[in-house]
């Protein structure tokens, strides 16, 4: 059956690949594509206040293939671009990325990177092209590619570090708060004495990928993290544990660290002390706003439009800690993976919301929201735009988020959970205030 998706929010697989590698410090991407593929990704991220890593926007190296490179093959153009790129910028790792035209014409990208490797360059390729899937798949496949191909260009250390963990499944830019979220998870794991590879941070990302093999454990926080974690397990025996989402709130964090501690043999004294401290911190601030919630936010009916793992953590948290009335969850990242609809994530989603939908179609999402009497929407800017140019009240938790600057905000863990409370309550109060004003105006005009 043919379907037409209106305003899809997910980019192509190349965009997923590109925005993932752009977030790794030390990586220089070289895109083998016709003009436009890379800039397209930049434009969508830019409008979401998300794009400012070193090799983005106009600074992405691309072969800008023209018709003659399609007819005669673009391999030699790629060879030229690889050489030029290496000449003008220093990178810890160069990655050649593939696009639809190159994949369709069948350019031998691998031969070009092999040639460059033989000349001693630290370069690998990811053959994932736009047509292979959406941006989530792009993350999954490029991270897996890096893990599998890194041994071609660097020496992988052999010794193991029984306190080191790898984090997968928090997708750069797809999770608009990925930087802050990764930092908070890192803080929590360091709190029980572990070291953490987040890969996407101000540290040396390439170095972290290199050391990933020495880790004692990989933690995957969404289905998109499973493939890279499994690759590490197969290649280096690094055990992996899968979670459906990132722990958000003290109960969830406690459960999470206890599970990880058990896996790695961290002493229970350390864990107990950490959990107690975190709970105290959370409670202290939570108490400060809880009355406000009862007074202001009690009966708001809300909808969440987000990737599965984000929907689970945000929805689960609001339901548990403030008793939010979540009418609807719309999952937007299950379009390219055809999992059965009765897996455990679905069960979890069904305990959080009355109704769960799976779509990334803008029209369908808008219809669902309008038909369900939703007062607050936690989703992307697209979900909050109404046809009449007005905006639905709500909170940005998904890509894309327009007119927003995002630095290191987090909505997970303990501190991120508190920020989520704060932002949610602010939106509710503003909404209530606006309604009050409307009412007063109405009374002023119509009464007395």
């Amino acid at each position: 059956m043919q379907t037409c998706v209106k305003s899809p929010r997910n980019g192509c697989a190349l965009h997923g690949v590109l925005q993932t590698v752009q977030a790794i410090n030390g990586v220089v991407p070289i895109v083998h594509s016709n003009s436009g593929c890379a800039i397209q990704s930049y434009l969508s991220n830019k409008s979401s206040g998300l794009d400012n890593t070193y090799f983005t926007g106009q600074n992405v190296f691309s072969t800008d293939a023209q018709e003659r490179h399609i007819i005669f093959g673009g391999a030699s153009r790629l060879r030229e671009q690889i050489k030029n790129t290496i000449k003008v910028v220093n990178g810890d790792l160069y990655i050649v990325l593939n696009s639809c035209v190159s994949a369709m014409v069948g350019d031998d990208v691998e031969a070009m990177t092999r040639e460059s490797r033989e000349q001693g360059e630290t370069i690998i390729e990811s053959l994932t092209a736009g047509l292979h899937g959406d941006s989530h798949y792009g993350y999954e496949s490029v991270v897996t590619d890096i893990i599998k191909k890194l041994p071609l260009v660097v020496n992988i250390p052999e010794e193991k570090n029984d306190k080191l963990v790898n984090i997968f499944g928090i997708l750069p830019k797809e999770d608009i708060y990925y930087r802050g979220n990764l930092a908070e998870i890192k803080r929590i794991l360091e709190g029980i004495g572990l070291s953490v590879n987040t890969f996407f941070s101000y540290g040396n990302g390439v170095e972290e990928f290199k050391n990933a093999s020495t880790a004692a454990l990989s933690i995957s926080f969404s289905r998109w993290g499973n493939a890279p974690a499994k690759a590490l397990e197969e290649l280096y025996g690094v055990k992996n544990v899968e979670f459906s989402n990132v722990p958000t709130g003290p109960i969830e964090v406690a459960e999470f660290v206890r599970k990880i501690a058990a896996e790695l043999g961290v002493s229970s004294d350390v864990v107990d002390a950490f959990v107690e401290k975190e709970e105290k911190e959370f409670d202290y601030y939570y108490q400060g706003v809880i009355d406000d919630f009862y007074n202001e936010a009690g009966s708001k009916s809300l909808a969440i439009v987000a990737d599965e793992s984000v929907a689970i953590r945000v929805g689960g948290f609001l339901k548990r800690y403030i008793g939010a009335d979540i009418k609807t969850i719309i999952v937007t990242d299950r379009v390219s993976k055809k999992e059965s609809s009765d897996d455990s994530e679905n069960d979890v989603l069904n305990t959080i919301a009355n109704e769960v939908y799976y779509t990334q179609d803008g029209k369908e999402i808008s219809d669902i929201l309008s038909n369900n009497n939703i007062e607050l929407v936690l989703g992307s800017s697209l979900d909050r735009n109404l046809a009449n140019g007005k905006k639905r009240t709500g909170l940005d938790i998904s890509f894309p988020a327009y007119n927003k600057a995002i630095v290191n905000k987090s909505y997970v863990g303990i501190r991120g959970a508190l920020t989520l409370l704060e932002d949610y309550l602010t939106v509710v109060k503003e909404d209530n205030h606006a309604k009050e004003l409307e009412l007063l105006e109405y009374i002023g005009q119509n009464v007395g």
Partner: protein, 291 residues
């Protein structure tokens, strides 16, 4: 597309079946009869017009596109026998790039260069390589570039299979302005059943035979001289065969949308013929009557 200048004819057929030989002889015969003719080789091998221009060097359209220089018609065309304008589309080396896109690009480029307005041809013949394997190779019969196609076929099953594939492509594109079929050019006809096989195939698919071209040593001999039969052996019987074929193609306006056989039908049809031929070869007398 703007009003077509001249009749634009695409010639298809299985690899090596005799497309270039036949097309060049048709061009030569038409030119000899006083028409203005362009022959465009749509094949990366760029050997379509060899016998029209005595094997002289001719840069291809895509060669000049690759170099990226400004292209003039004079650089990529040369006048051959009796003024036939010879052009080779060219293409990538085997195994890289996209030849289908190449055909597309060179046909577009020729239109941009106002080739037809400048030369004012009566006939334009497109000699298209091999089988129609992807959209690119169907370009000459799509988008109104040609309005008629002929397919060269022998009685070999694979040649007929390729012809049937072309019928499928015509069938798909004709309703939206693509070319229709002028007929099948039966090539390399030898004595015996080969004519009957082609006749039977055309009648099963609602098409017709445009002409029968014998398998002849004169063809090969002329080719060795770097010439068409029309030029090298103008008084031969083979030359007249090509002249008649050219005349038919010039005058024929009976264009059809063929009804290609389905995969199963084609297989069954071939098997039936296999049985008939077996009986014939092994001397079962009834076989001859069947044919």
């Amino acid at each position: 597309m703007a009003e077509r200048i001249g009749k634009h004819i695409a010639i298809y057929g299985k690899g090596g079946i005799g497309k270039s030989t036949t097309t060049s002889n048709i061009s030569a015969a038409l030119a000899e009869a006083g028409y203005r003719v362009i022959q465009i080789g749509c094949d990366p091998k760029s050997d379509s017009t060899n016998t029209l221009r005595g094997n002289n060097y001719l840069p291809t359209v895509l060669d000049s596109l690759r170099e990226g220089n400004k292209i003039h018609l004079d650089d990529i065309s040369v006048k051959g026998f009796k003024g036939v304008l010879c052009i080779e589309s060219g293409g990538p080396v085997p195994g890289v790039g996209c030849a289908g896109r190449g055909i597309n690009a060179s046909v577009n480029l020729l239109q941009e260069l106002n080739l037809f307005e400048e030369f004012k041809p009566d006939f334009v013949l497109y000699d298209v390589l091999g089988d129609v394997v992807c959209g690119g190779f169907a370009v000459p019969i799509r988008d109104g570039i040609t309005d008629r196609a002929y397919v060269v076929s022998s009685s070999d099953f694979m040649a007929i299979y390729a012809a049937n594939n072309l019928f499928k492509a015509i069938n798909k594109y004709a309703p939206t302005g693509g070319a229709k079929l002028g007929g099948v050019i039966a090539n390399s006809i030898t004595a015996g059943y080969s004519k009957s096989i082609i006749d039977d195939f055309t009648s099963k698919t609602g098409t017709s035979v445009a002409g029968y071209v014998n398998r002849s040593i004169v063809v090969q001999q002329s080719e060795l001289y770097g010439k068409t039969v029309i030029e090298a052996n103008p008084t031969s019987e083979q030359a007249d065969i090509y002249r008649n074929l050219a005349k038919h193609i010039a005058e024929n306006e009976d264009l059809v949308v063929p009804s290609p056989l389905g995969a199963g039908e084609l297989r069954d049809w071939a098997r039936e013929w296999g049985d008939k031929i077996y009986n014939l070869e092994s001397g079962v007398v009834a076989g001859a009557e069947v044919i």
